[in-house]
């Protein structure tokens, strides 16, 4: 029997944490942001890079192929 996924439960729990925080603290304690963000402060997934590379290699390999008639 398929039931509500872990993913839904995790989302629900996180949103409930947010609701609880709001109830405790109110909405007037927003975190202040700095004016500048240096690239080193953000970490990008390399998984995406390999996904893009795979697609690019396939496009280059298949671009000049001419098979069939339409």
């Amino acid at each position: 029997m398929a039931n509500t996924s872990d993913s839904i439960e995790e989302l629900t729990a996180s949103l409930q944490e947010l609701a609880a925080y709001r109830k405790d603290k109110g909405c007037d304690e927003a975190v202040a942001l700095p004016g500048i963000l240096s690239p080193g402060e953000l970490t990008l997934s390399q998984e995406v890079e390999s996904f893009v590379q795979k697609n690019r290699e396939y496009a280059l390999q298949s671009r000049s192929v001419s098979v069939g008639i339409y």
Binding site: A2, L18, A30, S62
Partner: protein, 538 residues
């Protein structure tokens, strides 16, 4: 002079309203050899409650395009004798009453080609532009429609639609008519002749033929048509017999073109017929729109029941059908997203408003990487809608919608959007975007399933450069991000500026301009192809 501009000789103008005794079937059976495509076009007029039909004969003397087509036929088949062409126009007004501009539903040109060795003429719809029966009110989105002016005997009238055409199997085949629809959607003149397509593809009807006994266009000939017109096109090939297996779903790539307002031409292989020993036939169809199913079950069900494991929901999950023409059947059909599977798919040419170093599917994955990096850096800001964005990103519930967009359209969008609290983006940021954004870029809208599908709203959007390589994945790709309560602005040179905005709520999704583009005068005929500027009219 094309069939729309040509003056015609009126043959009849007849009332067609229901109850008046007019039968679409009978009319097509008696006059046009029971042509099935024409029956569909008449049925589309009926669906829109048309009240009269005007039939005009177009002569070679009044229509240079007709003369050109007939000349090509005479070269192709020595027994070609003559052609008769009728322009059939559909009106919401009854006969005898001058139609108002809004009464014009569209037209079809019927061509009857006579050959000495055939007992009856061959009938086909040379072209047709009809007002689509379904639009945004019916969750159908077609951004490739153009305005066409038609000089009827009842006055010059305009119709907005996507040009349809049927192959004649002698001088043009399915690839030609598919190309014509695709090119008509983007070229300034909103149409192209078969003569020009054939010239670009190297078909002269003498030493190189298409159609009966010769077959269709090869992909490398289609390549030449696009390159000869200096268009930005992305080609996707899926040829398992050549060990070329497309790594992604072609439907996601196709959606990327359509959602960006550009058409695509797709080619597929038919299933072999019983007992068939030769290669299965292939067919090409133009795709130019999609439907949006806001209550689609698939996005959630795919994850929970069928093993889908993406880190986010591509907005394409809510697409139900692609809107296509199939020259064998007629205009404006729906192709269900999951019907034409990869087993049969072989080829796609997607038009783009601008050359890009990566495609829409890649852009979406890159945008997700940026969203994820941002939420890791700022897990919570204690601003409701930003925090929800971070949670949805972390938990894999973000919806991403990717479009290639022009700067002017984006500036219009951010001028117009406002939160439920009626907050808008501050004018200083609008000016900033105006100063530093390039002419075209990828916009990836970030939303939640409930916002995206039901109320068509979003957390914000990321803007990615289209002209920078995606490897290595660097911050130079991110032009800007607009999220609830703040902006990330990357003018280049290293650091990213963070700016606070009072726009802290969710805002509407991008909606393209609704007015279709019109035809423009034909370009200078003496200009050689190589001198022409890239002519995608977006």
């Amino acid at each position: 002079m094309n069939f729309r501009q040509a003056a015609g000789k009126q043959l009849l103008w007849k009332d067609t309203g229901v109850g008046g005794g007019f039968s679409n079937f009978l009319f097509v059976e008696q006059n046009y050899g029971s042509n099935s495509v024409l029956r569909r076009i008449f049925s589309q007029a009926r669906k829109q409650d048309y009240q009269s039909v005007l039939v005009e004969e177009i002569s070679e003397a009044g229509c240079a395009l007709l003369a050109e087509e007939n000349q090509a036929l005479a070269i192709r088949r020595p027994d070609y004798r003559k052609s008769v062409a009728h322009r059939i126009s559909f009106f919401l007004s009854p006969s005898g009453t001058p139609p108002k501009p809004s009464d014009f539903l569209g037209y079809a040109v019927l061509k009857l080609d006579h050959f000495l060795n055939l007992p009856s003429p061959r009938v086909h719809v040379f072209e047709s532009v009809m007002r689509p029966c379904r639009g945004e009110a019916h969750n159908t989105f077609t951004r490739c429609a153009r305005d066409y002016r038609v000089t009827t005997g009842l006055g010059q009238l305009s119709v907005s639609g996507v040009l349809y055409a049927k192959q004649n199997t002698l001088t043009y085949v399915c690839a030609h008519v598919g190309l014509r629809t695709v090119l008509a959607s983007v070229l300034p003149e909103a149409d192209i002749t078969y003569g020009r397509i054939n010239a670009l593809a190297g078909i002269d009807h003498k030493s190189s033929l298409v159609g009966e006994g010769a077959g269709g266009l090869k992909p490398d000939q289609i390549d030449k048509v696009f390159s000869g017109l200096n268009l930005n096109v992305e080609k996707l090939v899926h040829e398992p017999s050549k060990h070329l297996t497309l790594p992604t779903e072609y439907q996601r790539q196709l959606y990327g073109f359509i959602e960006s307002g550009c058409p695509a031409l797709i080619g597929f292989e038919a299933d072999p017929k019983p007992g068939q020993s030769s290669e299965p036939a292939r067919h090409a169809i133009p795709v130019f729109g999609h439907t949006f199913d806001e209550d689609a079950w698939l996005p959630d069900a795919h994850r929970l029941y069928f093993g889908g494991s993406l880190s986010y929901y591509p907005s394409e999950n809510w697409l139900g059908n692609f809107v296509i023409h199939d020259d064998n059947f007629g205009p404006y059909f729906y192709l269900p997203r999951h019907f034409l599977k990869k087993d049969n798919f072989r080829l796609m040419y997607g038009l783009k408003g601008c050359a890009s170093t990566f495609n829409a599917v890649d852009a979406e994955a890159i945008a997700f990487a940026f969203c994820d990096a941002i939420r890791r850096r700022y897990p919570r800001l204690h601003r409701d809608w930003y925090d929800r964005f971070a949670i949805y990103t972390q938990r894999g519930w973000l919806v991403l919608r990717t479009l290639m967009i022009g700067k002017a359209d984006y500036l219009r969008h951010i001028r117009e959007v406002e939160s439920r609290e009626h907050d808008r983006l501050e004018p200083e940021f609008q000016q900033h975007f105006e100063q530093f954004l390039p002419a075209h870029f990828w916009m990836v809208e970030a939303s939640a399933p409930e916002l995206f599908a039901c109320t068509r709203r979003k957390f914000g959007e990321l803007l990615l450069a289209i002209d920078k390589p995606a490897q290595p994945l660097e911050f130079a790709l991110l032009l800007a991000a607009r999220l609830p309560g703040f902006l990330l602005l990357n003018p280049g040179g290293g650091n990213i500026n963070i700016r606070i905005t009072k726009l802290i709520g969710h805002t509407p999704l991008f909606a393209p301009p609704s007015a279709p583009r019109g035809e423009e005068p034909n370009p200078e005929p003496s200009k050689v192809e190589s001198e022409r500027q890239p002519s995608l009219n977006l």
